[in-house]
């Protein structure tokens, strides 16, 4: 992939144009990574802009999807897989069929004798369980093992 940066003092804000021979998955991922990543959380009728970096986790419960930050929980009007696509894949990783966590907020990992993995976020603000099926995805996001990041 060729990267070209043009400095134009006449521009009011940065503009990114992606030129490609076809709309491949790689191009889609690139576009996704460049898109603004703000989210909107809801508390009743009140809409609150959420900064993804501040989030601890997003999870599905009671037929809704919620985002948890250190200050509270908000309903997000997106499906979990849509959230997964929106959030930075190097930081937010699916750990079970109903939960996505912010890896930068992980403060402890523990393995029980039964083989379950307990993940503690932000020093105990949230505790969640990692499904073993998703461990390869976490390793891939962290650049470990076979799924090492490029």
């Amino acid at each position: 992939m060729k990267v070209e940066v043009k400095i134009d003092p006449a521009r009011a804000e940065p503009t990114v144009t992606v030129t490609a021979p076809a709309l491949t998955e790689e191009v889609r991922a690139l576009v996704r990574s460049l898109e603004p990543r703000s989210l909107t959380g809801w508390r009743g009728e009140e809409a609150i802009p959420l900064e993804p970096g501040d989030l601890l986790r997003c999870y599905a419960a009671n037929k809704g999807v919620y985002a948890q930050s250190p200050v509270g929980e908000y309903l997000v009007k997106l499906r979990l897989y849509e959230l997964e696509e929106r959030l930075n894949p190097g930081v937010f990783v699916r750990i079970s069929h109903s939960e996505i966590v912010n890896l930068k907020q992980v403060t402890a990992l523990d393995l029980s004798l039964a083989g379950t993995i307990k993940m503690t976020l932000a020093g105990g603000a949230a505790v969640c369980w990692v499904s073993r099926r998703y461990v390869p995805k976490i390793k891939q996001a962290l650049g470990l093992g076979r799924g090492r990041r490029a």
Binding site: A108, L109, R133, L142
Partner: protein, 286 residues
């Protein structure tokens, strides 16, 4: 069909057909060696036992039952890792269910092949061996998960959890593995050993297998976790039931020797571990 269901179906089919293939290969091999004195006549291979044929009324039905059980056992082994792919209470429940179902199939196949008769001792021995094998595979996988978790911690810059007192919790998998060997090898030898020349019970077990297992688990736990007094203690305690067997009796001092071997290997490995870590720290400081 979801990806998970597809994975289950694929593993069931592969495991089932591998089971059937192994059964066929086993019958052909045993038939070639034992029945025909090295000149196999594959048209007359005995695919089922006389007992199974008599129970089902015909060899065809007995063979169908044997194939069904073998396929089911292969499928059960094929999906063995999938129950672990979950979390919370579901993991424990699924693992126990898988253990019970596979155990039932092992017993059923053992009965069809006349490996276990009506004797409760033979049934218990087969179940004991199966449990030991299951536990061993599970423990090896658990150690792998722990190594995986260490990698994740390291990638996330998280500190390793502080070890429990005298590494008790950390050395539990090694202690369980050691106890499994010490508790089950002797009953197995009772069945396999010749009554007139007890090579296994008098020679291989006390002079080779037990010392080797004690040394190995002591060394492995020391290298991975440092000093683990639980391992030598387990060597001694789990050896004690061996004294109950009346034929080819053992002495309790043997248990002390195995415990000392485990302790010595553990101490040496713990020193090696510390020495390696110091080397790494020095390398990192430079």
């Amino acid at each position: 069909m979801t990806d998970v269901q597809k994975q289950w179906r694929k593993r069931i089919l592969i495991g089932g057909f591998v089971g059937l293939t192994l059964m066929a290969a086993g019958v052909v091999c045993i038939g070639s060696i034992t029945l025909f004195g090295g000149r196999p006549d594959y048209r007359h291979l005995q695919w089922v036992t006389h007992g199974a044929a008599a129970f089902f009324g015909s060899e065809g039905l007995a063979l169908a039952a044997q194939c069904a059980v073998t396929f089911a056992l292969g499928a059960s082994v094929g999906v063995a890792t999938l129950p672990f792919d979950d979390y919370g209470p579901a993991l424990a429940a699924r693992s126990l269910l898988h253990f019970a179902v596979t155990g039932g199939l092992v017993l059923l196949l053992g009965w069809l092949l006349e490996l276990v008769g009506p004797s409760p001792a033979a049934v218990l021995l087969l179940l004991g061996l199966y449990t030991f094998l299951y536990l061993t595979v599970w423990l090896v996988r658990w150690l792998g998960w722990r190594a995986e978790l260490d990698d994740l911690r390291s990638a996330l810059d998280l500190p390793a959890p502080s070890p429990s007192r005298l590494n008790g919790r950390e050395s539990l998998p090694y202690a369980l593995l050691l106890a499994g060997f010490f508790l089950l090898l002797r009953p197995l030898a009772e069945v396999l050993d010749a009554p007139d020349v007890p090579v296994l019970r008098a020679l291989l077990l006390p002079w080779l297998a037990y010392p080797f297992v004690a040394l190995l688990t002591g060394w492995a736990s020391g290298l991975a976790r440092g000093l683990c007094p639980l391992v030598p203690l387990t060597a001694f305690v789990s050896f004690l039931p061996n004294l109950l067997w009346p034929h080819v009796p053992y002495d309790w001092q043997q248990g002390v020797v195995y415990a000392l071997l485990a302790l010595g290997a553990n101490l040496l490995a713990a020193v090696v571990r510390r020495w390696r870590r110091r080397g790494e720290e020095r390398g990192g400081a430079r």
